[in-house]
């Protein structure tokens, strides 16, 4: 069992790559966002009356006075700014923070709960602050703990830090000029409105109320935030987020479990497994005997066993970690970025271990008529990339779908409650509890099955790449 050390090593490798990738993302070149804003601006009715607003003067003064670096925002930004004020003053006259009991939004709630975040909340009560590393090209690094935001209910912050605020557990950057870019400033609630963008799609823009005026927030900077309704941003978020912390914890857990098992094997090589050994050994042997050996072959499986084992146990550990009730229910394996890192690792391992036969079967398939060969090479070349793509989507899709299903069942309580008051709450709870229990049982199976499927597919791809063919 000497390769157990490899497993833990690979887990740490995954943390390194996964941690960076799950937070690093595309960032906007300014040009692109400006063009987008100009487009938005052209679609706006208020664009001609922006001279009438007293906010304009205030904003400009603020820019030139306190924070010199803000005023080099170009024209597009300013226009956009006016437009927003036009909306804000034309819309409601009352305090937007006053009507707090807005309608329950099941989709938004579900998305919020499966997203990554900069704070680890347990039961909306205990909030573990996380180190936050934010980088904006023109500002430089901002490194702080996320309790600087004074996070409260719904994981909304109450204090801004260096121009960043926390909304729904994630750090956002305030883009409207005039918002204090230095130090901590207490702000009011968050609001949002839905606008049509250039293509006529609905787009939600979030605002933070500060000093009685709304300031626009940029989209979240996580990759999965971009996919789930965010966008490309002007800042990078390299934080140790909720997902990264979960990865570290699970990897450490696996490290200690496997180290104690390995120790036991070393000390009593001839005794029956006991304790943690009897939990890990069946799974380990199953992956070795049912997955690695049949698919890769007796001769070569030892080379790939550490990779397969770390993939299996890391995915399984994270799947189960995300399903422990009341423990933050992180959604690491349901995060496309995380699964993308795994899929990219598999892609490189498969293609770097591919032998001559493998490439021959891709580019010049033997044993078929010549006119079919180019056609097949196109199909095979596509499948080269489709294989890791489906690996990535399958895992993320299955785990996210399970989380969303559970959250929807819990959401029944609030939906019925909104309709029928207290009685509705009772009906909702009576429905939600058994359905959620049922779903969690299914999810427990899915956690094992998906870890197994990822491993078996990896093994079969590797097996196809290293297979020795007898010549036809």
């Amino acid at each position: 069992m000497r390769y157990i050390t490899y497993i833990t090593f690979c887990c740490f490798l995954f943390i390194g790559t996964g941690g960076v990738f799950s937070q690093a993302h595309k960032h906007a070149d300014d040009l692109k966002s400006i063009q987008q804003r100009k487009l938005d601006h052209d679609h706006d009715d208020h664009k001609h009356d922006h001279h009438g607003h007293s906010h304009d003067g205030h904003n400009h003064k603020h820019n030139h006075g306190d924070h010199g670096h803000n005023h080099n925002h170009n024209d597009g930004d300013h226009k956009h700014d006016h437009k927003r004020h036009g909306h804000a003053s034309g819309h409601g006259h009352g305090d937007p923070c006053a009507h707090h009991d807005e309608a329950y939004d099941p989709t938004g709630t579900a998305i919020h709960h499966i997203s990554d975040g900069n704070v680890y909340s347990i039961l909306d009560a205990i909030r573990i602050p996380l180190p936050t590393f934010l980088y904006a090209p023109e500002k430089g690094w901002d490194v702080f703990m996320s309790n600087k935001f004074k996070v409260g209910h719904h994981e909304d912050g109450h204090v801004s830090h260096n121009g960043y605020v926390m909304h729904h557990g994630s750090a956002y950057r305030v883009v409207t000029p005039g918002f204090p870019q230095e130090g901590n400033h207490e702000h009011d609630c968050f609001t949002h409105k839905t606008v049509k963008d250039a293509k006529g799609k609905d787009k939600v823009i979030n605002y933070v109320m500060y000093g009685g005026k709304p300031y626009e927030l940029e989209a979240r900077s996580t990759f999965d935030g971009g996919l789930l309704g965010g966008g490309i941003t002007s800042f990078y978020d390299f934080s140790i987020s909720k997902n990264v912390l979960s990865m570290i914890l699970v990897a450490l857990l696996l490290f200690f479990l496997f180290r104690s098992a390995a120790k036991a094997y070393k000390q009593n090589p001839n005794s029956a497994p006991k304790g943690i050994q009897s939990f890990l050994e069946p799974m380990f042997l199953f992956i070795r005997d049912e997955v690695a050996i049949p698919f890769i072959g007796e001769k070569k499986y030892m080379r790939y066993l550490p990779l397969l084992m770390s993939i299996f146990f890391f995915i399984l550990g994270l799947n189960l970690w995300g399903q422990v009730p009341f423990l933050g229910s992180t959604n690491v394996t349901g995060n496309l970025t995380f699964t993308m890192v795994l899929a990219v690792i598999v892609f490189f391992v498969v293609n770097f271990s591919g032998n001559k036969d493998y490439w021959k079967h891709i580019f010049w398939m033997p044993g078929v008529p010549t006119f079919v060969k180019p056609l097949l090479s196109v199909v095979e070349g596509m499948s080269l990339f489709i294989k890791p793509l489906t690996l990535m989507l399958r895992l993320a899709g299955n785990i996210s779908a399970g989380h969303i299903a559970i959250l929807s069942f819990v959401g029944l309580i609030f939906i019925f409650g909104n309709l029928y008051g207290t009685v509705g709450n009772g009906i909702g709870t009576a429905l939600a509890v058994p359905l959620t229990l049922f779903m969690m049982a299914i999810e427990l199976i899915v956690a094992f099955v998906q870890a197994f499927v990822f491993t078996i597919l990896t093994a079969s791809y590797i097996g196809a790449a290293v297979e020795e063919h007898e010549h036809h």
């Binding site: 049949p294 489709i386 489906t390 989507l393 078996i456």
Partner: protein
């Protein structure tokens, strides 16, 4: 409107994958019933095939997400 069409597309993809996986699973059950001693091999082949069928559906669903 495009969102609705994308939802219909995702639904159709799921129907296709459901039929496909159902056939894979059903035939695998037949095979295991006929030859219980080969159940291990059949099971892993079944999971592999089901995963491939699912892969096609996942691509369709991804496209419908991006089109919406």
């Amino acid at each position: 409107m495009t969102g609705t069409l994308a939802a219909i597309g995702a639904g159709l993809a799921v129907i296709g994958a459901g039929i496909g996986i159902g056939m894979v699973g059903g035939r695998a059950m037949d095979a295991i019933a006929r030859q219980p001693e080969a159940s291990g091999d059949i099971r892993s082949a079944m999971i592999l095939m089901a995963a491939f069928v699912e892969g096609a559906a996942l691509i369709a669903i991804l496209l419908s997400i991006f089109m919406s």
